[in-house]
Symmetry: C2
Subunit: 331 residues, 2 copies
C-alpha cells in the first residue's frame, strides 16, 4: 500500500490524535499542523496539537494557535509529525511519543529520515500544506475559512510567497481554490511581512553591518551575536528571515546566517540560488533540509563555526566550478 | 459592442501597430506591452514598442526589452496604450500619436480617463497582463515561453508577488497556466527581488540605524544622508524601496524616508497602512501621489525638512485620533 493510502487508512481507523512539528515553528509547520487538526476535528476525531515552545508572535494570527498545548491532556491512538525531517526536531515533545503506537510522518523534506511507522514523504510538494490539502480532498471535507487560511499560510511560507523554484502550476491552483474558500491573501501577507518589531529592525541594522561576500560574490554571509541581541532587546525570533539579505545579493549562490545562541553554539541557516546544494553543506555538520534552504547547529564559538562553514562552501563552489569546466567541452 | 470585442476587431482589421505605456516603467507596463507585442507578431502583424526613457536595469531580463524604441520607424495603423490611466503619462511618446488613427487603451486603473477611441478598462483585473493573456486565448494563440515570462512578470509586479488584496483565484489560475508554458518563477523573482547590490545593503545598514518611531508606533521614519551614500559608494537608486522598512513595522500608519539629495534639498517618500492618507501630507509640500504612496521634494536641510514633515504627520494623526473618538459613541 502506498504511504499516503496508509495515512488515510490510519486516520479512518483511529480516534484520538496528537499532532506536532519542529521547534522554532514557521508558516508551513504551523499552518499544516493546524489545518490537519481542522480536518481531523471535522471527521469527528479527538485531536490535540502539542508543541515544544511558544508560537512566535508573527504567527499568532493563524486560526487555532491558541489551542496549541505544551503537553497532551489525553492518551492518543496515533501521532502525526508534520514538516519534520527528524524526530529529534520536535524537541521536548518527544517525551510524549509512545513508541508502541502508530507514528505518522507527513513531510516534503528530501532529507526526511523515515522515523515513523508510516512515512508519507513527498519532496515534490512545495509545502506540507499542499499534502494536507490533498487529505481534505481524499476525505471529501471542504476546508472552512480557518483551515484554508492555515493551508495558504503554509504555502506562502514555504514558497517565499510564490517566489521560490518550488512554485509549481499545482501550488498556484491550490492557492486559487483556497482564496475561493475565503482566504484573504492581503491579511496573511500583512501579518507575515508587515508586522515587524522595532527590535528586529535595529538588530537587522547591526547584522547588515557584518555582511561579507567572497568568491567573486558567489557566497555571502551575515552574523548575529548575543551582544547584538541584548543591545537591541531582541530575541532569536527577531532575526527570522535575515538570511534573505545575503541571499538577495546579485550573483550570490550560497548565503549564510550565523546566529550565536544563548546557551552557546551557533545556529547556521543556509540559502542558495542558481541550484547550489546547501543541504549537502548542512549535512556535513549534522543538519539538513532542502537543496535551497537548510540549517544546522554547530557547538563551537562563532568565529570557529564561521571558519568551518565558509571553508566547506568555498570547497563546494570550487568543485562546482571545476565540474562545470570539465563538462562544458565547447567553452 | 463590448470594448474588449472592439479591441479584438481592431487587431483583426489592422496590420501595423504601435504599443506604448507610462514613463518610469515597471513589471506590469513592460510585461503587458511586450506580451501584447508577442501576440501581434504571432498574428503576422508589424509591431513596434515605443517608450519614453530607458528600461530600468532590474527589468532588462524581460524578453524583448532590447527591441524597445524611443521613436517609431514606420507609420502605424493603430496605437495601443497599456496600463496607463492618462495619455500624458506616456511622456514624449505623445508626439508620435496620430489623433486621426485608432487609439486603444487597455488598462485596469479605475481612474483611467478613457482617452482612447476604444477603451477596454477592467478594474477587476489584477494586472494588465491578465487582460493581454485573455487576448491570447481569444485569438487561440499559445504564448511562447517569452510571452509567458512577460505576462507572469506583469502579474508578479502588480500583485506584489501575490501579496496584495487584488490577488484573486483567477490570477493564481493564470499564473499556474503560465508556469505550465515554461515560466520559471524563481528566475523572475531572482531578477526582480534578488539582484540587490552590496552597496545597497551597506547603505541599508546605515539607514536602518536612523530608524525612529513616534506616536506610540503609529509613525516611523528613516534617513539617508549624502555622507552615507559616499561611505557605501552607493547611488540614489540603491535606496529604492527603503521606505518599506519603516512601513513594515507592526502598527505603523505613516512611514517616511528622507533622502538628502546631491544638489541640496530632501526627497521625501511617504507610505501608509490602515488607510492613513499620505497624499494629503505630500501635497502640503507641493508633492502628491496616492493615499498609500506619495512623495515630495523639500528645498531645506535634512534636519529642517525632517522637523517639517514629522510635524505635519503628528498633526494629522492627532486629528484622526480626535475624529475617531468623536464618532465612536460607545467608547
Amino acid at each position: 500500500m502506498q504511504s499516503k493510502a496508509k495515512i488515510i487508512e490510519t486516520i479512518r481507523r483511529h480516534k484520538r490524535f496528537l499532532i506536532s512539528s519542529h521547534i522554532n515553528p514557521e508558516g508551513d509547520s504551523l499552518g499544516s499542523a493546524l489545518a490537519l487538526r481542522g480536518l481531523l476535528v471535522k471527521l469527528g476525531k479527538k485531536v490535540e496539537v502539542v508543541w515544544d515552545g511558544p508560537v512566535p508572535p508573527a504567527y499568532r494570527f493563524l486560526p487555532g494557535t491558541s489551542v496549541i498545548k505544551r503537553k497532551p491532556s489525553f492518551s492518543y491512538d496515533t501521532a502525526f509529525i508534520v514538516d519534520c525531517p527528524t524526530l529529534s526536531r520536535i524537541g521536548r515533545t518527544q517525551q510524549f511519543i509512545d513508541k508502541r503506537k502508530p507514528l505518522c510522518a507527513i513531510d516534503h523534506h528530501i532529507s526526511n529520515e523515515r522515523f515513523g511507522t508510516v512515512n508519507w514523504v513527498d519532496p515534490e510538494a512545495a509545502a506540507v500544506g499542499e499534502m494536507v490539502y490533498f487529505l481534505f480532498k481524499m476525505f471529501k471535507v471542504k476546508p472552512d475559512r480557518n483551515d484554508a487560511t492555515n493551508l495558504y499560510a503554509s504555502i506562502v511560507g514555504d514558497t517565499g510567497s510564490f517566489r521560490y523554484s518550488n512554485t509549481t502550476p499545482k501550488i498556484h491552483r491550490v492557492a486559487a481554490e483556497l482564496i475561493a474558500l475565503g482566504v484573504s491573501p492581503a491579511v496573511i501577507s500583512n501579518a507575515l511581512y508587515e508586522s515587524t518589531s522595532l527590535h528586529s529592525r535595529r538588530l537587522l541594522a547591526l547584522a547588515l553591518g557584518t555582511l561579507k561576500v567572497d568568491r567573486g560574490g558567489k557566497m555571502a554571509w551575515i552574523k548575529v551575536t548575543q551582544k547584538m541581541f541584548s543591545k537591541c532587546q531582541a530575541t532569536s525570533q527577531d532575526s527570522e528571515g535575515f538570511v534573505d539579505y545575503p541571499r538577495s545579493l546579485k550573483g550570490v549562490q550560497a548565503a549564510v546566517l550565523l546566529r550565536e545562541e544563548e546557551g552557546g553554539g551557533v545556529k547556521v541557516s543556509f540559502r542558495s540560488k542558481s541550484g547550489f546544494d546547501v543541504n549537502r553543506i548542512a549535512r556535513r555538520f549534522g543538519g539538513g533540509g532542502h537543496r535551497a534552504a537548510s540549517g544546522c547547529f554547530i557547538r563551537e564559538t562563532l568565529p570557529k563555526a564561521e571558519a568551518m562553514v565558509l571553508q566547506e562552501i568555498r570547497k563546494a563552489l570550487r568543485e562546482n566550478a571545476e565540474r562545470s569546466v570539465r563538462y562544458t567541452p565547447h567553452r
